[in-house]
Symmetry: C3
Subunit: 328 residues, 3 copies
């Protein structure tokens, strides 16, 4: 990959020879000769001077320092530039090894009534059930299930083991038993959505479960029935979102967080990893609720005190009353 | 669906014309003309008067109010009635589109020694291993694995990606390494059990892991080896139950909760979402243990204080001693 | 299984007839006549005298007591001896039922460019993508995916639904959208690794995600991109490890724990179940961070007080100041 070709494709200002050949991509610290690297976070600035990288993508603020080291590309958002570089890199790798396999792997089970755009890629051992709709440019990796009537937009990626449209968890109690509520809705997924391995999105009870454009879900996430996830929201691994919760656009949910059902999270809410959202969050901002980890002995002491916290509060009240009495 | 036909099937008292045609099912708030709806929770009572629904299923307590609005069906448990209505609705939908597919999809891999009742439905790309037994009326959706020797009862539903009977997590430490303990038991599942997508139930070490009748498990749940789940217990998504724990009947475990191993939860225990059960729970009731979520700044302050909680308790003791000394 | 044959294979000192036939394996409490059992934890010593077991594996410390009861095998590590006994038992069971199935199930989809050792066992409906490498003696149970270019060592077991090498979760934010960072690394797994059902290990962004020899992972675990798990570390079910975290050797991570990204856990760190690791742990030892579970009412009171904890701390400070003033 010539630097000149890269800058023609992606823009930015190149300081250095356009004929310089890039033979690999690498972080600053481990970059070898021939590697292209990037500096996106000031935290890594100390690694810039000593990096062996052939060229570094930097923001205008670090352009001068980078130039003293050697070739660089200056651009407003080095991390996004880097992301696009990885995309070019991968497409070149793929072009080098001509794919002769059919877009739909012969082992996939696609119902004749499913509407699958001619450009869709369906990997080995996937299942696409009756009436499902899959938009142009979408890719199902291996062993994905898209259940009956569910709709996936364009340019989505569904990783191995994903299950779209299993029944939501709906039962009515009667005589100490559970009566199944048939889940008559489906799942509707927008464009440019990526869904991680073994993640599950349940079909709605009556209306559909909805995932809007540009949403990114990591692995092993559970999205309950009738959840609505707003555009460009991202969730890290192992998150669980219970039924009928409405999550706004441009939110982030940290790994292992749990969001209870029937709540509303407005646009721009950020939930820290492993936090449990028990009530609606009506203001944008960062929210956290995690028991701080400690060495086991210290934790034991604090956890024991925690179980008496309300009693301690009463004792403080008594002390305050005593002191004010002594004062008067 | 004629209202008269519905009441003939499910009982209840119809106020309105039995010839009224129902063309859809919907919650009160979004119901359109022709829709059947229901009122099960007093919280939604305000939606009753303004609902566009053709007919509403209500309890006797709300019968009079519902009648002032229009047609209604009165029944002791409107939510269970609604559940049964969804079942009738779905069976009518299915009857309308004649299924010509075989019960066992040709892509499923069923071992010749497995005992699968003639009425069992096995979806695409399922695996049923040797000696497995599957009872009448049970349905395996796509990509389910039932491992060797495991037994599934009658009228169960196993959703896509379920794994029954993978090895339990058993290793003996020796010389800082782990020696595998072969898992010689199996999994035994009762009747009317539903198991959500990508949920895993491990085989027992020697005796079997047991799931009793009527248990409902949501998606992405982990049930360790030799766990016993009592009849009609329900667990929401992402729950983990460690090995050899005995959970009673009629329990509910909220989403994302973790139950440690070798514990006993008696019948009628209810664990709130995301709580961690670290000791046996010998009395029925609701149990909770979750760090309250807060804006990040407030959480930081409280979490920092929490790490000194035991020290604060000591300071309160000192204050109390000081005050009682001053008093005397 | 003759006792004499067992001791010939595994060593230990037999007190009793070598011709005694073992017809089953069982824990002490439930052992029937003919069963072999073991005593590894002093907690179960009360069960020894009354056990119906034909023979008990014990440590030298319990040899005398066990002999008073009947036949026993004395060995330094009874639990590891038991583990090896289960392995012999299983191999005998398998020998009794001759397997005529091919090592690679015909329904598996193995790319022609994958390097799969002749001794590898690949179960039904697995996917092994191009350029993947799988070492001698490794077993993929049903429905496992090994993605392009990933390498699995020798004598590993991958349970049903495992996904090795899905894309890591990498996106650069730009104009409130997410730009995909192609994941150009792979996954490299050592020898003697066991991976539980539906567990996911993501491919690295540039360098590889690495799992060293002897690691044992339970079900439904998420390992992010560029994580490094040191040799003989074990993780229980539902653990999530975020990207670029380095976990040392001989660690244990309890079920449902979450480890944030870009952290270092040194060798010999033990994290309790459901704890959240938010900073690096530089010393070996046991770490915990879990909100203690309580009856719901008590929890409510303590949780409410917890939200004022920092304010309580300020009030204690004021009280202390007041008391010291009164004293002076």
């Amino acid at each position: 990959m010539r630097l000149g070709w890269l800058v023609d494709k992606l823009g930015g200002t190149l300081h250095g020879s356009p004929d310089l050949l890039i033979t690999g991509l690498s972080p600053l610290a481990s970059a070898a000769q021939g590697d292209l690297s990037f500096l996106s976070h000031p935290q890594y600035i100390a690694q810039l001077d000593s990096s062996q990288a052939a060229c570094v993508i930097v923001s205008p603020a670090h352009e001068a320092q980078a130039q003293r080291r050697g070739p660089c590309i200056s651009t407003a958002n080095p991390y996004a530039y880097w992301a696009r570089t990885t995309q070019l890199w991968k497409s070149q790798l793929l072009a080098a090894q001509p794919h002769t396999e059919p877009l739909v792997h012969p082992s996939a089970v696609v119902h004749p009534s499913a509407q699958v755009h001619a450009s869709v890629q369906i990997g080995p051992l996937c299942v696409v059930e009756e009436g499902a709709v899959i938009g142009a440019g979408t890719c199902l990796k291996s062993r994905v299930t898209v259940s009956a009537g569910c709709r996936i937009g364009e340019n989505c990626i569904l990783h191995a083991g994903v299950v779209i449209g299993a029944d939501g968890f709906g039962f009515a109690p009667e005589d100490q038993q559970w009566i199944k509520i048939e889940q008559l809705g489906a799942v509707r997924i927008g464009n440019d959505v990526e869904i991680g391995a073994n993640t599950c999105i349940d079909r709605g009870a009556i209306a559909d479960t909805v995932i809007e454009d540009g949403v990114k879900l990591d692995n092993l996430i559970q999205i309950g029935h009738n959840v609505h996830v707003g555009a460009h929201t991202a969730m890290a691994g192992c998150v669980g979102v219970a039924g009928s919760t409405h999550i706004g656009a441009h939110c982030t949910i940290g790994g292992g967080a749990v969001v209870l059902g029937h709540l509303t999270l407005v646009d721009g809410v950020h939930v820290s990893a492993a936090s449990v959202v028990t009530h609606s969050l009506q203001k944008p901002g960062q929210y956290t609720g995690v028991f701080p980890i400690d060495d086991n002995k210290t934790w034991h002491k604090n956890a024991a005190s925690l179980k008496q916290l309300n009693a301690l509060r009463e004792r403080i009240k008594l002390l305050e009353a005593g002191q004010s009495k002594q004062r008067s």
